[in-house]
């Protein structure tokens, strides 16, 4: 190592030293400890006791675990594609050089900065089965009072209600897609125009392929986000009615801090981590064929 290289190494490490310290204390140690705890019986008040894979076996036999996994998957499978479609649609509309684009963009974006607790409370009121303004609007468009959905009070409608609330916050993706759309070079559209392509053909053959890296990015972020949904069920439904909105992270929190089964909670967290990793890899594999990166 030349003196120059040595000096650079020293300086580099010095600059990142705060991060290294934080990484060890707030990341590396917790990750290792969590893996260890996941093989232990650990009620927090007593030291962890090694029990091998018992937590993982218990998990496989735990009905609530499967229900919460199913609920989370249900939400992801419906809400993610729906949200992406809505966001792409809005982004395409906003990208058509209409006047007042900044204004529209602000309006669609605004809901996504609302703090989650405030959003949950606001939507509790909007979704209120008797006095909620949503059900009132439904009666206004002619839906009879008897067939109004009771939203958060029914097992059947609680999840759609949360999905609806989630769609309100779609503006964040709209902004990401808009940035992606504006990066598409104009000459592609110009040559398509010369070839006589119509709007639909241009969208399918130019816009979507060029946007695919962005779509892929938001898909992965969406998967990770969905599996960590916690505040909405905690505040709005407490996982109910029944177990209709028992989300994965909600159950995990309860297991850890209500039942004080820390070992089981850590095991659940690791399974969650593996699920997220697996889905991300899967998305990468699948998209390798469809995602188009320039260069």
């Amino acid at each position: 190592m030349t003196p120059n290289e040595r000096r650079n190494l020293r300086n580099g490490l010095l600059f990142i030293s705060p991060w290294i310290l934080g990484f060890c204390v707030f990341m590396l140690y917790p990750i290792a400890a969590s893996l260890f705890f996941s093989f232990c019986d650990y009620p927090m008040t007593l030291p962890p006791l090694w029990v091998g894979v018992e937590n993982y076996v218990d998990m496989a036999c735990d009905k609530v675990f499967w229900v919460s996994l199913g609920n989370t998957a249900y939400y992801a499978v419906i809400a993610l594609p729906l949200g992406m479609l809505l966001a792409i649609g809005l982004a395409l509309l906003l990208n058509t050089k209409v006047r007042g684009m900044a204004f529209y963009r602000t309006i669609f974006f605004l809901p996504s900065i609302v703090p989650v607790v405030a959003m949950a409370i606001l939507w509790l009121w909007i979704l209120n089965a008797r006095y909620g303004v949503l059900n009132y609007s439904l009666t206004c468009v002619g839906i009879p009072a008897k067939s109004l959905p009771p939203w958060l009070q029914s097992e059947q409608w609680a999840m759609p209600a949360l999905i609806l609330m989630g769609l309100w916050g779609v503006g964040y993706s709209v902004v990401i897609y808009l940035a992606g759309l504006q990066d598409i070079p104009n000459h592609l559209y110009e040559s398509a125009d010369i070839d006589g392509a119509n709007w639909w053909q241009k969208t399918v053959h130019i816009t979507l392929p060029m946007l695919s890296p962005t779509l892929y990015f938001t898909l992965i972020m969406g998967i990770i986000g969905t599996f960590q949904i916690f505040a909405a069920p905690y505040i709005m439904t407490e996982g109910g009615p029944g177990r209709a909105t028992h989300f994965y992270s909600y159950y995990l929190y309860n297991v850890a801090f209500q039942d004080l089964r820390m070992g089981f909670a850590c095991a659940m967290a690791w399974v969650l981590f593996l699920i997220i990793l697996g889905l991300t890899l899967l998305a990468t594999k699948l998209s390798a064929r469809h995602v188009h990166y320039e260069r």
Partner: protein, 406 residues
């Protein structure tokens, strides 16, 4: 894409309808927060907040209306027999159907006795009230816990009640005071503040310290990763990036243990101290930016004998203000929103942040106090919206770059 006029109109139409739908929950939030409590549970809902005024005891006051009387009635002062434990009879003003009052005797339903639900008691007539008149009570803008005389009331003709469109601004004062007060002292000066203000103070502490911490430490680390080349740098950066994939729930339980061991559980420290050690996302964001700054600048400074830290502090940081603003803004928003962190680590009311305070308030009083809940939610959303409007460009740029540079 340039569009023909009919298509442009169609796009505008869709966007306008969409905007209305997206903006509506905000409108409903604000409308509800400004309605008097009696107006909240009205079906069909009223779109505007209203206030009623009537003359009570010669004074024009804000009142609460009851449904119109179904039959001719009387207002009497009845002598109510003492309940067990009371010294003697008490006089009480009551509205009764006219037919229940005859020969100085009033038939009164006693809520507290189950058998003999109706009794006859002596009473004196105050006035006759025709059918369809309305009982109005003075609207007291105070909390149930506040002291004060009971509201005055009377029956008046419907034409004597004046209704105005008037927002109930008092809801905001009520919402702030509703969670109670905190008494503390600072530098020997004792103070008494509404809990809501304490929540706000705590949120600001967490957000401001966090912003300072994460901006500084992430910039330092990003400089180390972007502007100095050393062996193992790229491998370590990959490690930093991969921590973004780890869900919070994985580290949650041991982190709780760490903070407990440090004696930080129940204080605000777990919420802002970790920010001083950088976060992968911010390091990534700043590194991307630092890499675009020409190396000639730092090389020239190095020749002039500048230390690496001086280059970072005097050259790179001033040039990176837009990127630092994005990091600061994102962290502020995140800290303002964070719910799970406060829920895990805070235990006492006086350490709660707005998120936790609002949730706590909702779970205790939820279901009826919608006007207060909406007012409190508005107070929590408003600063963020204002901040967004002032920093819109920075914000949109920040999101766009995170989306692109994957």
């Amino acid at each position: 894409m340039k569009l023909s006029t009919p298509k442009r109109i169609a796009v505008h139409a869709i966007l306008i309808v969409g905007s209305c739908i997206f903006i509506f929950p905000f409108l409903w939030l604000i409308i509800t927060s400004l309605k008097p409590v009696e107006q909240i549970m009205q079906m069909p809902p009223d779109w505007l907040p209203r206030a009623h005024y009537a003359t009570l005891g010669g004074e024009r006051v804000k009142v609460v209306k009851e449904p119109p009387l179904a039959e001719p009635s009387v207002i009497v002062v009845a002598v109510i027999p003492p309940r067990p434990g009371e010294d003697g009879p008490r006089n009480e003003r009551k509205v009764l159907p006219a037919k229940s009052f005859r020969n100085g005797l009033a038939e009164i339903k006693l809520a507290e006795t189950r058998e003999a639900a109706t009794i006859r008691v002596p009473a004196t007539l105050e006035k006759h009230v025709p059918e369809a008149w309305v009982l109005v009570r003075e609207k007291l803008e105070r909390l149930p816990t506040d002291p004060g005389p009971p509201p005055r009331w009377d029956c008046v003709g419907p034409d004597q009640i004046e209704t105005r469109i008037e927002p109930a601004w008092w809801n905001y004062r009520g919402a702030i005071r509703y969670t109670g007060y905190y008494e503390g002292s600072f530098l020997g000066l004792s103070y008494r503040l509404p809990m809501f203000v304490i929540y706000l103070r705590n949120t600001l502490i967490v957000a401001v310290f966090g912003v300072i911490g994460t901006t500084l430490s992430s910039a330092l680390a990003a400089y180390g990763f972007a502007r100095i080349s050393w062996r193992g740098r790229d491998a370590l950066f990959l490690v930093a990036l991969s921590t973004m994939m780890v869900p919070f729930t994985v580290t949650m339980v041991p982190l709780y243990g760490v903070f407990k061991a440090l004696g930080w559980v129940g204080t605000l420290k777990p919420l802002w101290v970790p920010a001083f050690f950088g976060s992968a996302f911010n390091i990534f964001l700043l590194r991307q930016f630092f890499r675009t700054i020409p190396h000639d600048l730092s090389d020239a400074a190095r020749i002039d004998g500048c230390s690496e830290f001086a280059i970072f502090w005097r050259i790179i940081l001033p040039l990176s203000k837009p990127a630092l603003a994005v990091v600061a803004l994102f962290h502020f928003m995140w800290a303002w929103n964070d719910f799970m962190g406060p829920l895990l680590f805070l235990t006492r009311q006086e350490t709660f942040t707005l998120s936790l305070g609002l949730q706590n308030y909702q779970s205790q009083h939820g279901g009826s106090e919608w006007h207060f809940l909406m007012a409190a939610s508005t107070l929590m959303i408003l600063p963020i919206v204002v901040l967004f409007f002032f920093t819109q460009r920075t914000f949109i740029q920040g999101i766009s770059t995170t989306g692109m540079k994957n």
